[in-house]
Symmetry: D3
Subunit: 248 residues, 6 copies
C-alpha cells in the first residue's frame, strides 16, 4: 500500500491500528554499462511492495536521490550532500511523526546512504536528547539494506560467487531486470578487475573504475535471478519489520 | 525516457545532442476525502511522460516531497521546510550540471512549491553572481505548473467552472484517476464552501478547511476528464519546453 | 509612526490596542541610468508612511537589502542570498511576535523578493506545523507589492502605457523623484528594447540588459506622477491592511 | 553620499577613484523610557552623514537590525541571531566586493554587535584563508564604534561623568535628540541604579534592568550635547577612515 | 609527535618528507559506574602515541567531543549533533590540507562517531565532486577504530569472552586503566544484562541501560590487560597506516 | 578534576553541590619559530588545573581547535570557521546544561576566539530570548582570558616590557615551557618588528608577519617565568570563578 495512493482518511484509519511505515531509500547514479541509473531506488521499491503484500503496512514515497557524490563523474548521476540528505530525512520523519507514525523502517538500496542515514537518525534523536522537555513523539528509526540480510547474501554467493562485486553488482542488476523487464540493456564488457582501494571523490572514483563497476560482472544478471532475490529479500524484510514493530 | 531507466553511457550519448531535462516536482500531502496523497507528484509525472514521447527528452527522478507545511495537520502529509527544499534543488541541479546538463525544466504539480522553487533557482544563480570567476557551468532553470497553461485553465473552466477550486481540485483528482485507475476512491461529501481567507500554518489550515479541500468539488472528477487534461497539458509542455530549449 | 522613533513603553501601550505592523521590504540594486539604487526601499517606505497617517499603525525598520543576485554585475548592487533573507525575515518576525505583534504586513518594493519572502513565511509557519505543541504565538504574515494593487497598475498604464517596463520602471523612478526631489538624475538614454527572455544570474542579466533597465523608459518619470502613485498606492494599502487586520 | 541615492553609473565612476565605503550598523531595541528604539541605527547614520561631507565617500544602507537578543523582553525590540547577522554581513560585503569595493568601514552604534561583527569578518576572511586559490577580491573590513573614540569618551565624561551609563546612555539619547528633534520624549524617571552584573538572555536582562536602562541617566540628554557629540565623533571618523584608506 | 608540541617550522620540514597525519577522535560520555567519561578519547590517544613512536608521524589534536546524543541522560556527557561534527571534521581537514597534508588517518574510539565521520568525509569529497574545477588539494581520509582490528578483537575475546560487551567494555576500561593508573575506579556492580534492542535517544538509552553499560562487565578490566590491548592495537595501526600511506 | 577522568556517578554527586564548570578553550596554530602550535590550548589547561586544585571544580574537555583562520598560511595551523565554532560551543553547553550544569566559565588562551565565543553565548541565549516558554535551563556563560587579568598583565610588563608582543608572546611561550619542559625549542631570531596594522586573512597575515610573531620577542621566555605566570593567572581565576559562582 503506497502512501501516495491513499487518502488522508485512510491513513487516519490505519494509524488507529498500526504505527509503522516502510521508507524506500535509494540513489540516482551510474551502475556501469548495463545497470540502470535508478537501480538503487528500484530495488528497495519492488522488495517493499512485495513485503507489504504480506505486512499490510504503508510504504512512503521513495527517497530516490541519495548520497552519491562519488558517482558524479558519470553523466546522469545525481547526489545530495550528506548535510542535505540529513535534513531531508529529518523533515520526512518529523512530518509523519506529527500525526502518529512512530516506527520508521528505511529499506535501503545504496551502500553510500548508510552512514548519512544513520547520522540523520542521530540528528533526529539529538533534538529530544538535548531538549527532553519538548514532548516530541517517541520516534524509532531503523535502517535495513535489502542486500544485507543473510539469506540474500547467501543467495548472491550461490548465484555469482565472488563475481557479484560491490557496485553495479550482478544481483542488483538482476533485480532491476525482474522489476523493469522492458529496460534490460546489453553492452559487451570484460570481467571487472578487483577493487584496488577505497575511492574518494568523483574524479578519483572514475580514475580507478573507468566504466563504473566495482568488481562486478553485471552481465551475469538475469531477470529470473532477480525474481528469486526479490522473494528472498522480501521474506527477510517481512520478518525484520515484524520484529521491529514488536520491539518493546 | 526516465533517467532512472537509462545507463550512464546512454546519458553521455544524449548529452552530445541535447542539454535539457524535465524534472517533475510534486508533493506528498492530503488532497481531501478522495484525492490521493501523491496527487501532486503523479500529475506532473504522467504529463511529463506524455510530453517526452514527443520531445525525446530525459525526465529526471521526481521530487515527490515538497513544501507542504500547511497540510501537516492531516495524517500522511510529508513536508520539507523551504530551507531544506532549496538545498535539495540546488544539489540536484548542480549534480546534473556537472556533466553537461544546462537547461532544467521543472514541471510542478503543487502551488506550495512555487515560491520555494524560485528561491532555489536564485540560490543557485547567486553563487555565480557573487563569484563570477568560479567557472560554474551556465545553468538555466525554468518552473512551469502543469495546471497553469492557458489551454489547461480553459479546459478546467469548461469542465468544472468555479467548482474546480484551489486544492484537491476536480481537475487534479481527474488526472490521478486517469493515471491510476486502480486507485479511484469514493467518499460522500458536500460541495466545498468558498475559501474564507489565506491559510497560515497546519493547524490554521485544518481549522478553516476541515476535510482538506479548498473550494473544490473533487467528486466531479472522472478519468475521462483526466485523460483530456493530460493531453492538453502535455501539448503545452511540448511547446513550452521547445521554446525554452530554443532560447538564445 | 516609525518603530524606530518610538520608545518601548509606547509600543507596549500600542500593543494593548493593536497587533499589526507594516514592514517595508526593498532592495539595494541598480535601477538603470537614472533610477536610484535605493528605489525599491524608498518606494514602500514613502507609501507606508503615507498610509500610516491614516492607519495609525507602526512601521517597522525597512529591510533595505533584499534578494537581488541578478543585479550584482552592476556596481553598487547589494544582495542577500535567498537562504540568508529567509533567516532575516524569520528572526525579525519572531522577535516582534515575542512581545505581542501578531499580524505582519510586508509592503514590498522589489519583484525579486516575492518568492523568497513567501518561502520565509512558510519557513516560519513550518516550525509550528511540525511542532504543534510549542505554543508559539499565532503569527500571520502577508506580502503586498506597492505596485501590484489594481488602481496602481491602472494608473501606471494610464501614465506610461507599455513604456513603463518591468525594471527601473518609469513609475518607480517617479515615486523616488517625489520622495527624494534632491536626487533627481538626468542621463540621456534610448527607449528600452523589449525583454528578450527571463534572466538568470548576474552576468546573464547584464548581457541582455546592458544599462540595467528592462523594457522601461525611465526618463518618462516625473515627481508629479510619483505623487499620484504614492497617493494611489497608499489608499490601496490602507484598505488592504484594514482587511488584513479584520480577518477572523 | 548615500549609496541608495546614487545610480550604478555614479558608483562605477566612484570606484575608479576610491575603493572604500562606510556601512552604518545599528540595532532596533528598547533604549529605556525616553530613548528611541532606533537609537543605535540613528547615531551612526547621522555621524556617517556628517563625516561623509568631508570624506566624499559612499555610505551604504544601514544594517538597522542587529544582535539584540538580550533586549527581546521589551516590546518593539528586534534581533537577529548571531548566526543570521554573520550571513547578512557576509552577503553585504561580498556583493559590493564583486564590483570593486575593497575597504569596508563599519560604523557601529551598538555594543551588542561588536563580537558578532568581528566574527563575521573572520567568516569572510576564512573563505580565502581556506581556499587561497579562489581569487576572491582583497577585502579589508574594519569596525569602529561611534562612541568609542577617545575624544568622544572624553566629551561624554565631561558632559555626564559616571551618569552616562552603558545602555540608553545620556550621550546616545542626546545624539538622537539632535538628529530627530521632532521625536524628543519626556518620561519621569529616577537615576539609574548601578549595574549589578552582566546580563544573560532577555528575561534575565529585564529582571535586573526593569526599565531598560543600564546605569544611565538618560534624562540628562539635550540636543545641544547631541550636536557636540556628532561633531566630535564625525571628526574622529574622518581621521580614522582616512588612516584606514591609507593603509598599505 | 603531537602536532601541538611542534612549531610550524618543524611541520613545514615534515611536509617535505611526509603527507600523513593521525587524528584521534573520541567522545566525552558516560562509561558506566567505573569507566571514565573520557574513555573514548583517551584510548585512541594512547594508542596513537604508541604507534607514532614507530611511524614517526604527526598526531593532530584529539577531537574529544563526538556524536554521543544517546548518552546525554547521564551527567557529564557532552555531544555534538551530527551536523556540527561534520562541520568540525570538514574545517579540521581543510585547514591542514591547505598547507600540504594529504592523508588523514582518523583513529576512532567511539562507535557512535563512525557514521557521522564517514558522512563528513563524503561532505568534504562532495565539494570537489560537484566542483571539479576548484583545484582543491587531493584529500584522502580513512577511519579506523582502535578496537576493530582483527588482532584486537581476538585479544578481547581471549581476555573477556562475551563479557566484554558493547559499551563501557572491559577492554576499553582496561586501556584507560593502563593509560591513567591514577584514575582507576572501583564501584560494586552486577554482571550486565544482555542488550535488549537498539537504543534511540538519551532517555530511551537510560531506560534500558540504567547504569550506562551495554552488556559489559567493566569490572573485569585490569591495567595489565590494557597494556596488552594498547600494544596490540598500536601494532595494527602501524601496519594499517603504512598501507594507507603506500596507496597509489 | 578533569571531567574526562571522572565517572558519571561522580558528576552526579558533584552536581548536588555545585553547578559550575571551567572550559578551557584554545587554538591549534603557529606561534612563531619557537612557540608550540598547541600554545593557546596548553596555557589555559595548565592554569585551569592549578586553579581547580583550590576550587575543587570540574574542568571540561579543552576546545583545542579555535578560530584561527588568519594563521592558516603557516603549516600545522587548524581553524574552525566562526560559524562552526558557534555550533560547537552551543552543543557543548547545552549538553552539560541538560543534566544540571548552570554556570560555564570559559578560560580562553587565544585572542582570536573572543569575538566568536561571545557570539556563541548570544546564540545560546537567543534561543530562550526568542522562545521564553521553552523551559530551557538557566544557563550563564562567562569568558575570561588567562592573559587578561590585571595581575597577569602587570607581571608580563614587569618581565618583558613592550617586548612581550601580541602573538607568540614571550609570556605565553614561557607558560608552555613551564608546562611542557620536554618541548622547549630554540631557533635563532631577531627582535620582532612592531605591528604595522591589523591583519586580514591568512595570506595577508603571513605577508606582514613572515615568521608568525607579532611584535613578540618569544626568545625571552623561560620556564621560571612561565611558572610565575601560571601561579598569578591561577590566583586570578580562583577569585574570578568564585565571584561568578556567587553571582545572584
Amino acid at each position: 500500500m503506497r502512501l501516495q495512493h491513499m487518502t488522508w482518511m485512510e491513513v487516519e484509519a490505519y494509524l488507529k491500528e498500526q504505527k509503522g511505515i516502510i521508507v524506500p531509500i535509494g540513489s540516482t547514479e551510474q551502475h556501469g554499462p548495463i545497470g540502470l541509473i535508478g537501480t538503487d531506488a528500484i530495488c528497495p521499491e519492488v522488495i517493499a511492495d512485495k513485503a507489504a503484500e504480506t505486512l499490510g503496512c504503508i510504504i512512503g514515497p521513495t527517497i530516490s536521490v541519495g548520497m552519491a557524490q562519488h558517482h558524479l563523474a558519470f553523466p546522469g548521476s545525481v547526489a545530495l550532500r550528506p548535510s542535505t540528505l540529513i535534513l531531508v530525512i529529518r523533515d520526512y520523519v518529523l512530518s509523519l511523526a506529527r500525526n502518529g507514525f512512530e516506527r520508521f523502517y528505511f529499506l535501503n538500496g545504496h551502500g553510500g546512504n548508510i552512514a548519512t542515514t544513520q547520522a540523520a537518525f542521530s540528528e533526529i534523536y539529538a533534538e529530544t536528547s538535548l531538549n527532553p522537555g519538548w514532548g516530541r513523539p517517541h520516534i524509532r528509526c531503523k535502517l535495513a539494506n535489502w542486500f544485507g540480510f543473510q539469506p540474500v547474501t547467501a543467495l548472491c554467493k550461490e548465484l555469482y560467487g565472488d563475481r557479484d562485486g560491490s557496485h553495479a553488482t550482478a544481483s542488483e542488476v538482476a533485480v532491476t531486470q525482474y522489476a523493469c523487464p522492458e529496460h534490460i540493456k546489453s553492452v559487451p564488457m570484460e570481467p571487472a578487475p578487483p577493487r584496488p582501494r577505497a575511492f574518494l571523490d568523483a574524479d578519483d572514483y572514475r580514475s580507478i573504475h573507468p566504466d563504473g563497476r566495482i568488481g562486478a560482472d553485471s552481465f551475469l544478471a538475469t531477470p529470473e535471478a532477480g525474481g528469486k532475490l526479490v522473494a528472498t529479500s522480501a521474506a527477510s524484510v517481512i520478518e525484520d519489520y515484524k520484529a521491529f514493530m514488536a520491539e518493546a
